[in-house]
């Protein structure tokens, strides 16, 4: 009897924590919707709603690689780039064949996720033999390569089908009626704007669902055992290559989903240093580190706060980046200072003890 209640408590505890995480997202969505219908949200803020979802998904998925698998990846924006471009190409070329925007967008999400996952596998197989700094450097290089390759790709479509070139648009040799889908450094124009805040929130929830459930399952334990002690994991029969690759690929494909949201939120898509370069990868890593490595909910909250902050502080002009930096430092101290971790533990224990007494 005693045993069964104890076990129930254990399952409930992780379940409860996850439920709180989902509730935060849903509550945020409802509050924003209420504010919008009350006319309290500026158009600038409205424009930020989808990026908030994109960065949340990016932070959650990178946390799977950094926090759960324990490998430092600096090329996460590269996978986002894969998802963005592959899904945009899909959406534009299927514009006529699949007139229903909903179904097309749904398929585009799958295409983006699959393309990023494929890139994850291709990069992961050689790269996951490396560890620590070496892995970070190679993933960093991968992100840059993807971005630069996209910039020299030309793709067009006419009645004869697809034309492809790596030289210039003229080299496509298309009929006059043909359209250029991907125009090198000028990128893709005319991607349908299918991304909405509601879809963004839904995808964030799905991302959370996948990552949180993965962590609390047999495969998740295997991934974390590889993180905690590779040699011991092998000694108890865990196939470390398989689980490393699994975590890396899932993380990449979720970044691809964020890319799909990104590309379908803009009418023109180009691969620049700012959106898919290493600056972006490091920005996402900052979300993860500040939110807490391995702390899924924390990285999501950090992504939201740090994306909103520069905009909220816009009125302060010159002091904007100064305050941003200070908040970064404060968050870092709050999350990582041993004294504060201790304090929080004690505080929460006190709370829990009180609740149990009641």
């Amino acid at each position: 009897m005693e045993k069964s209640t104890a076990k129930k408590f254990h399952i409930d505890k992780t379940f409860k924590t996850n439920l709180i995480t989902y509730s935060i997202v849903i509550a945020a969505f409802i509050i924003v919707q209420l504010l919008i219908s009350a006319g309290q949200v500026s158009s600038l803020m409205k424009g930020l709603l989808v990026p908030l979802c994109i960065y949340s998904i990016m932070a959650i998925s990178l946390n799977l690689t950094v926090g759960i698998l324990g490998e430092l990846s600096l090329g996460h924006a590269g996978f986002m780039c894969m998802g963005a471009f592959s899904s945009s190409i899909f959406s534009i070329s299927m514009m006529d064949s699949i007139p229903n925007a909903g179904i097309r967008f749904f398929l585009a999400i799958l295409v983006g996720a699959a393309a990023a996952a494929a890139a994850g596998i291709v990069v992961g197989i050689p790269v996951l033999r490396l560890r620590g700094d070496y892995l970070a450097i190679v993933t960093l290089a991968f992100g840059e390569i993807i971005k630069n390759v996209v910039n020299v790709l030309y793709l067009g479509k006419d009645s004869n089908g697809f034309h492809f070139s790596m030289k210039n648009a003229m080299a496509l040799h298309m009929e006059k009626s043909g359209t250029i889908i991907l125009n090198g450094a000028q990128g893709i124009t005319g991607t349908p704007k299918n991304s909405t805040f509601a879809i963004g929130v839904l995808l964030t929830l799905i991302t959370l669902f996948i990552v949180l459930n993965l962590i609390n399952s047999r495969s998740g334990r295997a991934i974390m055992s590889v993180r905690d002690n590779r040699i011991a994991a092998e000694s108890i029969g865990i196939n470390i290559t398989k689980y490393k690759l699994m975590a890396f690929t899932i993380s990449a494909s979720l970044a691809g989903v964020a890319g799909v949201l990104y590309s379908h939120n803009l009418s023109s898509l180009t691969a620049t240093q700012k959106n898919f370069g290493y600056n972006q990868s490091i920005m996402i890593l900052v979300f993860v580190v500040l939110g807490g490595i391995g702390n899924i909910r924390g990285s999501m909250v950090a992504a939201v706060i740090l994306t909103l902050l520069p905009e909220l502080l816009r009125g302060l002009n010159a002091y904007r980046m100064l305050i941003y930096a200070i908040i970064l430092i404060v968050m870092m101290i709050f999350n990582w200072s041993p004294k504060l971790i201790d304090f929080r533990k004690r505080y929460f224990h006190l709370n829990r003890a009180k609740k149990e007494r009641v």
């Binding site: 334990r221 295997a222 000694s235």
Partner: protein, 252 residues
């Protein structure tokens, strides 16, 4: 047929012959000790047995199957589990999850079932929980099952490592200095636990140990290793009184 049969095992690191011409036969259910001075090659033999190193010479037969030079993962599946001299737990997982990781291969369900929480997930997880708690009870760790492994006291970490190894359902358990860093009381308790594991899990155990009280107390047979070679082997009492062994290892 013997459970473990090692014939003329050898490995060189560069010019150093770390283990040379090592042969040993362990019967099912035996409690076997491997002793010798520091640097004699004891842990190297464990690493050879578990596939961490590939031997240059010799064969290893487990229950009649040749497992020489196989991968660590496959050797574990074939039935050898081990603990480490410097404890290697999954420190950020709970005590329960450490053992459940050991149950990984015997209790499979697909990753998709795990993510989508299909019925199979609940069924297998429940079996895993029950099995893991059962194992933890043997080591008196069931009350700490939700503690992080790194927060356990040292002696309990050693026990948890044994529990995790047992969870993989091995035929042969290798213990690398299980009593290292333990006080006499803990060592005595550990001796009981090892005997209990052998009797109740039908286990064959090969252990490396420097604590002579433990060795003479529980090991039925001993092999003494010196400079990578077998100095002598046989019944515990005989070996411990062998003048060669006293000279090389025990001291006069």
């Amino acid at each position: 047929m013997a459970l473990l049969e090692i014939n003329n095992l050898g490995i060189s690191f560069g010019g150093l012959r770390a283990v040379d011409n090592f042969s040993i036969t362990i019967e099912k259910g035996q409690l076997y000790g491997l002793i010798g001075p520091n640097g004699a090659g004891k842990t190297t033999i464990f690493n050879l047995l578990t596939g961490v190193y590939k031997p240059n010479a010799g064969t290893v037969l487990l229950d009649g199957n040749n497992i020489t030079g196989k991968k660590t993962v496959d050797i574990n599946r074939a039935g050898i589990a081990r603990t480490f001299q410097n404890i290697r737990l999954f420190k950020d997982l709970t005590v329960l999850d450490n053992v459940k990781t050991g149950l990984h291969n015997s209790h499979p369900y697909s990753t998709v079932a795990g993510i989508l929480r299909l019925p199979n997930y609940y069924k297998v997880e429940k079996q895993m929980d029950e099995k893991a708690v059962e194992l933890l009870k043997v080591f008196d760790l069931d009350k700490e099952k939700d503690t992080l492994a790194s927060n356990l006291p040292y002696g309990k970490q050693r026990k948890l490592e044994i529990a995790r190894a047992l969870a993989t359902g091995p035929k042969l358990l290798l213990l690398d200095e299980p009593a290292a860093g333990m006080n006499p009381n803990e060592t005595a308790e550990l001796m009981d636990t090892i005997r209990f594991v052998r009797d109740n899990f039908d286990m064959t155990i090969l252990l490396i140990e420097h604590d002579m009280k433990l060795v003479s107390g529980i090991c039925e047979r001993l092999t003494v290793l010196n400079f990578g070679q077998v100095l002598t082997q046989g019944k515990t009492a005989d070996v411990l009184h062998d003048p060669e062994v006293i000279k090389a290892y025990l001291g006069e």
